[in-house]
């Protein structure tokens, strides 16, 4: 089985998977997660999940989790294309509001975790 890594800024995803998977947890923004993924992709990582979240916009949800496969010998051009397009989209939307009610923040974490769980069920 290929070696995979989770890149996330969602504490709920980190909490659930850090014992069983390789998790790169960032105390950063949605865009920071995409930039971290770009660094990995340029070193041969392959995206396994889409860098944009469902129909939630990058300026709505603060949380993002991504799954990448590591240590490919050649750079994956599809992954580069996808991450660059997604970063451009995220930058276009700008960042989410800094002040956010706790309930709302928790619900965004829950949605991101739920979406990610459906992927982890498959690998």
């Amino acid at each position: 089985m290929e070696q995979t890594m989770i890149i996330t800024n969602n504490p709920k995803v980190n909490e659930k998977y850090h014992d069983s998977k390789t998790v790169k947890f960032l105390e950063g923004t949605y865009l920071d997660v995409l930039l971290a993924a770009r660094n990995i992709v340029h070193k041969g990582g392959v995206l396994l999940t889409h860098p944009l979240s469902s129909s939630l916009k990058p300026n709505e949800t603060p949380y993002k989790s991504l799954l990448v496969a590591q240590n490919k010998e050649e750079v994956d051009l599809k992954s580069i294309d996808l991450i660059e397009n997604s970063i451009a989209t995220a930058q276009k939307f700008g960042s989410h509001p800094k002040e956010m009610a706790i309930k709302k923040r928790e619900d965004y974490k829950l949605i991101d975790l739920d979406l990610f769980d459906h992927v982890m069920d498959k690998i």
Binding site: L47, L48, T49, H50, L52, S53, S54, S55, L56, K57, E60, L82, N85, S86, A88, T89, K92, F93, P97, A101, K103, K104, R105, E106, D107, Y108, L110, I111, D114, L115, F116, D117, H118, V119, K122, I123
Partner: protein
């Protein structure tokens, strides 16, 4: 497969001591309907309101919109696999209460979406300002999980739509429309001179608040499959999708899929409309590859000359849309895609998050980032405090005179990607 839609026009809705249809008025026994909804142990209370076209009423946040229907003298029922048995729908006679809708509302998560204004500027952007709406605001127990909460409200809407639909049993409608699709080989031989066209409908299916159900099956777990068009017109697909308000397909949109209706209008004249392929929009990239491969394979197998593809949602699903388009075009089949745009408030930015040169015929539902000013409303059904927090709203967007500035994406159905809306490059 042949479906008759028996349209029963409803112009007015009132609460009454007895539920029935009388003189094009839908009378509803509030207590009886409340009791039906409260049979769900998760729902603590429900408020029922009526919102009519032209009234100074704002409904928010809206979860789903449904059209009351019932199947008469049939072994199958409305919303199969969910509140009816799994028997195949799309044939026989279905009564449609035309002019009314059930609108579900209620707090599920801390961010919520969707406004329907029944009058003023906002009313111009949603088709549900023109229906007489029964608004159901469901309140669930505090301890309920978000998944259960969404499901409880989804089922409440379906049960109410069926309850109201049953009132039409035995009533002869104002008009009857018949739709029929022949088995593929018969259809092809019937119109040998006409170009064969299929419709690919993409369904949002990514997870919590992003789900769609096909005969009760969570669409994220399906492989792309074939349906008769009339199955979609008859409740085979329902919405569990809460985002985004502007470009999600509510259950009402599925029941009244205007791509299918328009393809039927041209069927036997300019085209031969042979059928529908449904596919999903998932998170895992391997799923996207698999589903788009299968979609292209199925339309190739149908032997069609052209395909209409409709998307649901924005961003991540743009990738599914482009994959479907590119792979179908690579088989020598022409495509037209229907999407919407997030092109910035000035409309100058890149519209989609993905693109390909094969996507050379595109219909847009509009720019969801466009700003509009909503007039003050005298009455709000739901929770107005959400308006500055929903997608398309922003802090400080409520003016002193009560008007609200939002992006179009806050309005239910405003940039719908089936084309079920009013935006156009010209006034229509």
């Amino acid at each position: 497969m042949r479906l008759e839609l028996n349209y029963i026009t409803i112009n007015e809705m009132q609460f009454s001591s007895m539920s029935k249809i009388h003189n094009q008025t839908l009378l509803i026994n509030k207590k009886e309907l409340e009791d039906l909804i409260l049979k769900d142990e998760h729902i603590q209370s429900v408020e029922l309101d009526i919102a009519r076209p032209g009234e100074s009423v704002r409904i928010t946040p809206v979860k789903d919109v449904l059209e009351p229907r019932i199947k008469e003298q049939s072994s199958s029922g409305v919303f199969p696999g969910v509140i009816s048995g799994v028997e195949t729908v799309g044939s026989g006679r279905t009564n449609v209460l035309k002019g009314v809708a059930v609108v579900t509302s209620g707090r599920i998560v801390g961010f919520q979406e969707g406004i329907i204004d029944m009058s003023g500027e906002g009313a111009k952007y949603t088709p549900f300002s023109e229906t007489v709406n029964l608004v159901m605001t469901c309140h669930c127990h505090d301890s309920i999980k978000a998944h259960e909460h969404e499901k409880a409200v989804r089922y409440a809407g379906l049960r109410a739509a069926e309850y109201l639909g049953k009132l039409s049993i035995g009533i002869e409608g104002d008009s009857l429309e018949t739709y029929e699709t022949l088995p593929l080989l018969q259809s092809v031989s019937h119109y040998p001179e006409l170009p064969k066209v299929a419709y690919v409908q993409m369904l949002q299916s990514q997870g919590l608040l992003h789900d769609t159900y096909v005969y009760g099956v969570d669409a994220k777990h399906i492989l792309p499959t074939l349906l008769y068009p009339t199955e979609l017109m008859d409740g085979a697909i329902i919405s569990g999708n809460c985002v985004s308000a502007c470009d999600k397909n509510t259950t009402y949109h599925h029941q009244n899929n205007c791509v299918i209706q328009d393809l039927f209008k041209q069927h036997g004249k300019e085209i031969n409309f042979v059928g529908v392929v449904i596919t999903n929009e998932n998170v895992y990239l391997a799923d996207k590859e698999r589903s788009s491969d299968w979609t292209a394979k199925l339309v190739e197998y149908l032997g069609v000359d052209g395909v209409i593809i409709s998307q649901e949602g924005f961003g991540n699903p743009d990738t599914d849309l482009i994959m479907n388009c590119r792979k179908i075009e690579s088989k020598g089949i022409d495509t037209v895609i229907i999407t919407d745009e997030y092109a910035g408030r000035d409309g100058a930015s890149q519209s989609l998050a993905d693109a390909h040169q094969s996507a050379d015929a595109v219909v847009t539902g509009g720019n969801a980032n466009e700003l509009i000013v909503l007039d003050p409303m005298k009455k709000t059904i739901g929770h107005i405090e959400y308006v500055e927090k929903i997608a398309g709203g922003f802090n400080g967007n409520i003016n002193e005179n009560g008007s609200i500035v939002v992006e179009l994406q806050a309005i239910i159905g405003s940039t719908n990607e089936l084309g079920f809306g009013k935006l156009s490059a010209k006034d229509i």
